[in-house]
């Protein structure tokens, strides 16, 4: 789960990381009032779960309150990569002497929370990694010991020359690790971490993604979820415990298992179609889940055909068949459905479907080819 910049900053402040003050506005009036309170020039920053806010015009410098109002009125309601901006963060504009990058993420290779720091801040770290890998220092945090003080210092020492900067940055790094762990994060970054002309070190941007698996025991973090920051269909899928990602194609996909779901999308493409979504109904086979899945898929107006690809293991084919039949009773489905079922209770499922007037395939290639053909018709 992604959280907004302002929410990540709240986590940072709680961990003792120096962050300039900031307040959230949902209207231009509010933005103006906040800017007036702060007094000097401010930044007006769109709060959306998307990179590239700056390039999209979602981050603006405002010399005074009137300018803040103007920028806010333009940014609020703006569409950034399909997401509507509902909130802006208004925060005093800082004098910047230098910009660095500090990030932590759970790294597959080291099997640990791993820091990346670079004196080349303000840029995409992936780009730095690609063009100038020596500009990045990495450290895997041994989960048995946590981040040790000398390690924080070692990272900070890579960013700055000045002892006072190094000391402050080491403290930021240690606290960022605490915040990462306390938040149940999978990724967090400060980009940029700035120095000001008077020698202070501050985090002026903040990003954090939470490990969804941590939410059950962190109600305060879970409460940060902003449903307006994702398509309604994804909210609905999440609430039904479905893994769903909306895409732009016309073939709706309903599959059990993430790998098989991806392979199914790929096969749609292979046969000349475009998948409308990724959707994994998961291992268990509650018919209600199938109903929810069909509701979500059919609410996408681009969908021209729907394909089921179920390999029964834990998932029982008859449950899926019952779900399909149930869904077609409850909701109006105007597009053709093609079904492939194999594995556990396959015969039972075919019987149920046949009774309800559906026919079913047993080969994955055949069903995908058919679904593409129907969508492209």
């Amino acid at each position: 789960m992604d959280i907004h910049e302002y929410q990540a900053k709240e986590r940072f402040i709680a961990a003792g990381i120096p962050v300039p003050p900031g307040r959230i506005a949902t209207t231009a009036d509010e933005a103006e009032a906040i800017a007036r309170d702060f007094g000097g020039p401010v930044m007006v920053k769109a709060q959306v779960h998307s990179g590239g806010r700056g390039k999209a015009g979602g981050v603006k410098y405002a010399a005074d309150a009137a300018a803040a109002r103007e920028h806010a009125s333009r940014i609020l309601g703006m569409d950034i990569k399909g997401l509507t901006v509902e909130k802006v963060l208004v925060t005093p504009a800082e004098d910047i002497a230098s910009e660095a990058y500090v990030g932590v993420l759970v790294d597959r290779k080291t099997q640990a929370a791993t820091f990346m720091v670079s004196a080349e801040g303000g840029m995409d770290i992936e780009e730095v990694a690609a063009t100038n890998p020596d500009a990045i220092r990495r450290l895997a945090v041994d989960p048995r010991y946590g981040l040790l003080p000398h390690q924080a210092y070692w990272l900070a020492n890579f960013l700055y020359e000045e002892p006072a900067h190094i000391r402050q940055a080491a403290s930021v790094i240690a606290r960022l690790y605490d915040s990462f762990v306390d938040s149940g994060a999978s990724m967090t970054e400060i980009n940029p971490l700035i120095t000001t002309p008077d020698g202070a070190v501050k985090a002026i941007d903040a990003k954090m993604s939470i490990d969804d698996n941590e939410l059950f025991r962190r109600p305060d973090v879970a409460a940060m979820r902003d449903n307006s920051a994702e398509p309604a269909s994804e909210t609905k899928a999440r609430e039904a415990s479905l893994s769903y990602v909306k895409l732009d194609g016309s073939v709706g996909c309903c599959v059990n298992g993430a790998g098989l779901a991806m392979a199914t999308m790929d096969l749609v493409k292979y046969y000349g179609g475009e998948p409308a979504n990724f959707l994994d109904i998961g291992g268990s086979s509650n018919p209600d889940k199938v109903v929810a899945a069909l509701e979500i898929i059919t609410s996408d107006p681009n969908v021209k055909s729907i394909l089921f690809n179920i390999f029964g293991g834990i998932t029982r084919c008859d449950d899926v068949a019952n779900g399909i039949v149930e869904a077609t009773k409850r909701i109006q489905i105007d597009v053709p459905i093609v079904i492939r079922l194999t594995g556990t209770n396959e015969e039972l499922a075919l019987e149920i479907l046949e009774k309800a007037g559906f026919s079913a395939y047993t080969s994955m290639d055949a069903v995908v080819e058919k679904a593409v053909q129907l969508a492209n018709a």
């Binding site: 099997q111 041994d142 048995r144 698996n213 298992g257 790998g259 098989l260 392979a263």
Partner: protein, 294 residues
């Protein structure tokens, strides 16, 4: 032969009285796996009643289960909030192989549990994996037994149902398997492709290997380099997620493209560059394997 499990596997089921645990224990017993014990704290002293009159004693702790039954392997079906603790307990109990089926385990919990298991010299498979099956010998986890058959092919995969698909197609043309291993879709897993490839290379009965990867991370690239450097047996590869958009998590916590290295394209290129035959779709795997062992 086979890898990781065989007919000497003596299994203890952690969470044996739960919904999933009891269901799959029955399935494993049915297949012939030696389920020698179950663990559910507070239910020690009870007996698990399996199919065909098979039973297993239930213990309060892994410690007791291993001491009493000589179990050497455990499988974990406990809920996500307790799964990492179950791995720690298993790694501390004397078993040498721990299969963690549970999905949804907090990743930082697993970082710690994996470190502990490494300290103890215990192999962990998973979490968030379907387990493994050595056809005709033993099944540990949730892989459906009816789709496998004995034979010379090793299968290793990050995915569950996609593995079934591939194994099913192999079985349909009579290509049986030594062992089918699902290594799991989480970012931090205890046993990776290379561990399995190494084991398959060392297993005299395995003549060729199917490796099924997906987007995210660079495990497949490292596995490809390993294949080129250390494997004499042919390997056929498939990667799921060619159409996945970057930055979005595709079901598995590990299946997210961040940076160009994690794309299906890069992984397929790494396969091809290192002598791994690349299947464009699951249906191509069988043909490539047949070519390889012809």
């Amino acid at each position: 032969m086979s890898i990781f499990i065989d007919s000497d596997t003596r299994l203890v089921v952690q969470g044996i009285t739960g919904r999933d645990g009891s269901f799959h224990t029955r399935q494993m017993m049915e297949y012939g796996t030696q389920v020698v014990a179950g663990v559910t704290p507070g239910k020690g002293g009870q007996t698990f009643e399996g199919p065909g009159g098979r039973t297993a004693p239930i213990f309060n702790s892994m410690d007791e289960a291993v001491a009493e039954t000589g179990a050497n392997t455990s499988v974990i079906y406990v809920p996500p909030a307790f799964a990492a603790d179950a791995v720690l307990e298993a790694a501390d109990s004397g078993v040498t192989f721990v299969v963690a089926i549970t999905e949804g385990v907090p990743v930082l919990d697993m970082a710690r549990a994996h470190a502990f298991a490494r300290d103890k010299g215990v192999r962990v498979l998973g979490p968030n994996c379907p387990g493994l099956i050595s056809p005709g010998k033993s099944k540990v986890g949730i892989l459906p037994a009816q789709i496998v058959t004995e034979g010379p092919i090793g299968v290793v995969s990050r995915s569950g149902t996609l593995t079934y698909e591939a194994v099913f197609q192999l079985t349909n043309v009579g290509l049986g398997q030594t062992t089918c291993v699902g290594i799991g879709g989480d970012p931090l897993i205890g046993t990776n492709f290379i561990d399995c490839l190494k084991a398959f290379q060392a297993d005299p009965d395995t003549t060729a290997v199917v490796m099924i990867g997906e987007i995210g991370g660079t495990d497949e690239q490292e596995a490809a380099a390993f294949v080129k450097e250390h494997m004499t047996k042919p390997v056929v590869g498939f990667i799921a997620g060619q159409t996945a958009p970057p930055g979005r998590r595709m079901g598995h916590a590990g299946a997210i493209i961040s940076g160009s290295a994690g794309t299906a394209e890069e992984k397929m290129k790494a396969f091809a560059d290192n002598g791994i035959a690349v299947a464009k779709r699951p249906a191509d795997i069988v043909g490539l394997i047949q070519d390889a062992i012809a």
